[in-house]
């Protein structure tokens, strides 16, 4: 296979040519980049499986394909024939064997780089030894008697906990995040992220605008049509302010007037009958949002150290650090690059100031600490830079315990500890009361019906065909629980009179009737869909990118 002498030498692959791994994961790296991929590859996921056991396995599929580090399935069940009709990761050869081990083997075929373990043991036994292994995230399949226990363990150890239950045509999941869960890289819509600081230009920017727009009228059509729209806006803002007490447009009508002023400046005598850069200027809103951040926490984690430095920056300059990105606009290449550099250097300057604040705080913390744990520990500049770039869109989610953790303990006496139950809605009742106004579309009945079902059937039950009709016997009791919750919410919402919830009540009864029909069964379609949704949320939590659902 030797190449003949006449074959030209192969083109040297560029240093940036993708590795085999980058090629394999190309379409996802375009979303969460190498940093997200690294976080995913470091993640160890635990699945505590029960019931028909499909939704958890479908979730894992969507984490194994993109290359999660490792997964562990804990499941007490042996594979029976009805598993084969609903679980894609079992075959006839699996019959009679451990469902955890069999699923693990077939799941691993999806991606040889992922490590997987199947453990056949009761969840009761396994949770006793949980502390021996540090998991990144735990998936608990409902209904389960262990919700409360795991909720406590996970809030103590700051491990994100997902509670998932798929039942017939319905499914639900809840997420318990650590008490403070900050996200810097939220991936906001690019159009909303541009902070161009047109109302507070710094000298280099104003000077460049003056240089380019001082003799607008004498410019050639070509030059006039190629002034970047940002500079046009700065020019007309100056003109506006001169006749408006040095103030920018204040309200809707003034903004409209300003827009007309800009539009009137465009030349229409040219062959195109207008100018693209003026169109861009008229379409842009120069009044970029002025975001304020406030934080006074002294939690010495990186997030708070940087947040504190940015807060200091904001109180000094009344703006957030400049992100430095510039949108594309009609312009000559040279002018555009020049303008881009003005933005970049300003962003670097702002970043340097924030870094300096962070460093001095770090030093102060070290001095105040009698025994500095790690004297050289300094926050990576890249982390501070990422924070500055996304400062306007940084999110902090306060994790709350699962609402499914507080479920009545004794299913025999529904409505036992009534007083206590009503207060658990204290925080959420006002927002849940919104559902009273849109009862037809409300998903509240599904949520409340699941709470009732998961409370009543929390303890492991025999497979459905053995003891029918288990669910039907509890139909009334489920309805009662869900309707009582609805009453509690109405009470806690502090509404003057009792709201009319007839539609919600009917929908609760319908959902419960559908649960009775399902009789504990999962439908593969619904579990696959739910597994996709849960996997999206797991990825967001593990990579700390994008925004996961907020503790609902």
């Amino acid at each position: 296979m030797a190449a003949s002498a006449t074959t030209p030498p192969p083109l040297q692959p560029p240093s940036q040519a993708p590795t085999a791994k980058e090629r394999k994961y190309d379409r996802q790296l375009r979303l969460w980049a190498a940093s997200g991929q690294q976080a995913l590859e470091n993640a160890k996921i635990l699945l505590l499986n029960s019931g028909p056991g499909v939704v958890g396995v479908e979730t894992l599929k969507n984490l194994i394909l993109p290359g999660v580090g490792s997964f562990t399935i804990v499941d007490e069940a042996l594979v029976e024939e009805e598993d084969l009709g609903v679980n894609f990761f079992l075959t006839e050869d699996s019959l009679g064997k451990s469902r955890a081990e069999e699923c693990t083997t077939l799941l691993r075929e999806l991606n040889p780089e992922v490590e997987g373990h199947g453990v056949r043991t009761s969840i009761d036994e396994y949770v006793k030894t949980l502390h021996q292994e540090r998991y990144t995230l735990i998936l608990l399949i409902g209904p389960s008697p262990h919700v409360q226990q795991l909720s406590k363990y996970c809030s103590k150890t700051s491990i994100p906990l997902f509670y998932v239950h798929s039942l017939g045509f319905y499914s639900h999941f809840s997420i318990q995040l650590p008490h403070q869960f900050p996200i810097v890289d939220t991936h906001p819509d690019p159009a909303s992220t541009q902070d161009l600081r047109l109302l507070n230009p710094w000298p280099e920017l104003s000077d460049y605008a003056k240089e380019k727009t001082s003799n607008l009228d004498s410019l050639s059509d070509h030059d006039h049509g190629h002034i970047p729209y940002l500079l046009l806006l700065l020019h007309y803002l100056e003109e506006w302010k001169a006749s408006h007490n040095d103030l920018p447009p204040q309200n809707y009508s003034e903004k409209k007037e300003f827009k007309d002023l800009v539009t009137a400046g465009a030349r229409t005598s040219n062959p195109e009958g207008g100018e693209e850069n003026y169109d861009e200027a008229a379409a842009a809103n120069p009044l970029s949002p002025s975001t304020t951040s406030s934080s006074s926490s002294h939690n010495p984690s990186n997030f708070w150290l940087i947040a504190n430095a940015i807060s200091r920056f904001h109180s000094t300059h009344h703006v957030l650090p400049l992100p430095g990105a510039l949108p594309d606009m009609k312009a000559q290449s040279r002018d555009y690059i020049h303008l881009q550099n003005i933005y970049k250097s300003k962003a670097r300057q702002d970043l340097a100031e924030v870094i300096a604040t962070v460093r001095s705080t770090e030093q102060r913390l070290r001095q105040n600490h009698p025994n500095p744990p790690n004297t050289d520990a300094m926050i990576d500049e890249r982390e501070i830079e990422a924070f500055c770039k996304g400062a306007a869109f940084v999110k902090l989610i306060h994790g709350r315990p699962l609402m499914f953790a507080n479920i009545f303990d004794d299913p025999q006496t529904p409505g036992g500890a009534k007083e206590e139950e009503a207060t658990e809605w204290q925080d959420s009742a006002p927002s849940l009361a919104m559902e009273f106004h849109m009862q037809e579309e409300s998903l509240l009945p599904i949520y409340l019906a699941f709470r009732a079902y998961d409370g009543i059937f929390a303890n492991p039950r025999p497979r459905p065909w053995l003891k029918k009709p288990v669910v039907a016997e509890k139909q009334k009791s489920m309805e009662q629980h869900a309707l009582a919750d609805l009453d509690d919410i109405a009470k806690m919402a502090g509404l003057g009179e009792k709201p009319d919830t007839a539609v919600l009540q009917k929908n609760i009864r319908d959902v419960v009737a559908e649960f009775v029909r399902a009789d504990g069964a999962e439908l593969h379609n619904i579990s696959a869909l739910t597994g996709g949704m849960v996997a999206q949320e797991v990825i967001k939590v593990v990579t700390k990118q994008y925004v996961p659902v907020d503790a609902t």
Binding site: L11, P13, P14, Q16, A17, P18, E22, D26, R27, Q28, R30, L31, P52, E58, K61, N62, L63, L65, P66, E81, E82, G85, V86, F88, T91, E92, G168, F169, D328, M329, A331, Q332, S333, R334, Y336, I337, P464, D510, E514, R517, A518, D519, A521, E522, L523, N525, A528, L529, G531, G532, M533, A535, Q536, E537, I539, K540, Y546, V547, V549, D550
Partner: protein, 389 residues
């Protein structure tokens, strides 16, 4: 049910969970529907057509590999793979299925199957009516829709929801690039034509991508534009849409769920559009897209289209490629029985070519109806030209 390939007699026990839904009605299921044996038999007999698009860099036929794998996992199901173009099959082929599920990668392919299935409907023949389910994803977002040809809004009715991305003007690429993507497009569109016209650009050939990357990089350096990378070059040239397993799972499962409900009546199916967005929390919305009377495929009125009477026919035809409501890349056009411009055959092209330079107002009048055809579609599109600015 017939015996399994391994000789085992399949037992209904395998379908214990599923039978809870096939043999029992729920509060939402159709009152006319009779659950039980009949539903089970009709589900077992039903034939579903599933389109998969094949990525060029996968060696084997995706359809064959997927079919063999699923047949092995799910005993009792029969899957016939077909590796080829959807356009090569005729009505008889499509008629044999009960439901069609699309996993297509382009708007063009969706428009083709949509027009075919709408055209196929014959009110006298219930077998000619094929419900179809369509899904698509991008990043954390996706959509699923159910279309009942001629009864609900069709893909063509919804075309303006999928506006093509605005193309960068050629003059920007040629003279005033500002973004790394401008340099890559320049290498892609202009430099390749200039230097390697004889080679057909293969975006899966690493040597070709490397060549484009180096050209783009050199041009970017010339203009001091930072940010051209190999990965970006590949993304721009191949128009790569980010995709992840979880979003695909959501949309695929949603499509299956709709097909399942259409086939079994176990619960009402989607009417008729669902969108899902997971970028920030979870947002999903279901609504009914309305059927349009002026839809070129399922409506009977010509669609109004605003035109400037002073533009040339050439400029108008070029604009049809980018207008969200048209998206026709190689249009031929006629007005009444008069041909204004026709691409094939060449003799007629020569004959009609002079019209391209003429202004619209010299060829047609305000309010005239024109017929536009395009080799990508078997039907002709009717537009009513409305003169405006």
């Amino acid at each position: 049910m017939s015996a399994l390939p391994n000789g085992l007699e399949p037992s209904r026990k395998r379908w214990t969970y599923l039978d809870n839904f096939l043999t029992k009605a729920g509060p939402g299921s159709d009152e006319q529907w009779v659950p039980g044996e009949e539903t089970i038999t009709s589900l077992e007999k039903s034939k579903v057509l599933q389109f998969l698009f094949r990525e060029a860099d996968v060696g084997n036929s995706k359809a064959e590999v997927a079919a063999a794998f699923v047949e092995k996992r799910v005993r009792g199901v029969k899957i016939t793979p077909y590796n080829g173009k959807i356009q090569d099959k005729d009505e008889e082929y499509y008629k044999q299925f009960h439901v069609i599920v699309c996993g297509l990668d382009s708007i063009e392919a969706r428009r083709w199957i949509n027009a075919t299935l709408v055209e196929m409907v014959d009110p006298e023949d219930s077998e000619s009516f094929k419900p179809f389910v369509d899904g698509g994803t991008e990043g954390f977002k996706g959509q699923a829709r159910v279309i009942l040809p001629t009864m609900t809004s069709c893909i063509e009715c919804q075309l303006d929801m999928h506006a093509p991305r605005a193309a960068v003007p050629l003059c920007t690429l040629a003279t005033i690039p500002r973004q790394p993507a401008h340099c890559i497009e320049w290498a892609h569109i202009i430099a390749w034509e200039e230097h390697r016209k004889a080679d057909i650009l293969d975006t899966d050939d690493p040597e070709h991508i490397t060549w484009l990357y180096e050209k783009a990089l050199a041009r970017a350096q010339e203009f001091n534009i930072p940010g051209v990378t190999y990965s970006m070059t590949q993304g721009v040239v191949k128009n790569i849409i980010p995709a992840i397993a979880s979003t695909n799972a959501i949309i695929a499962a949603s499509c299956c769920n709709e097909a399942f409900k259409i086939l079994t009546n176990t619960n009402p199916f989607l009417n008729n559009y669902m969108m899902y967005s997971g970028d920030e929390g979870v947002y999903t919305y279901t609504f009914e897209n309305e059927k349009k009377d002026d839809c070129p495929v399922c409506g009977n009125l010509a669609r109004n289209i605003m035109v400037n009477p002073d533009v040339t026919l050439q400029e108008f035809l070029d604009s049809l490629g980018e207008r969200p409501e048209a998206q026709l890349k190689k249009p031929s056009i006629s007005s009444g029985d008069r041909t204004l411009y026709i691409r094939f055959p060449q003799s007629l092209e020569e004959h009609s070519k002079p019209n391209l330079e003429k202004k619209l107002k010299d060829l047609v009048s305000d309010g005239d109806e024109v017929g536009v055809s395009d080799p990508a579609f078997q039907i002709s599109f009717k537009f009513r030209l409305v003169f405006g600015p």
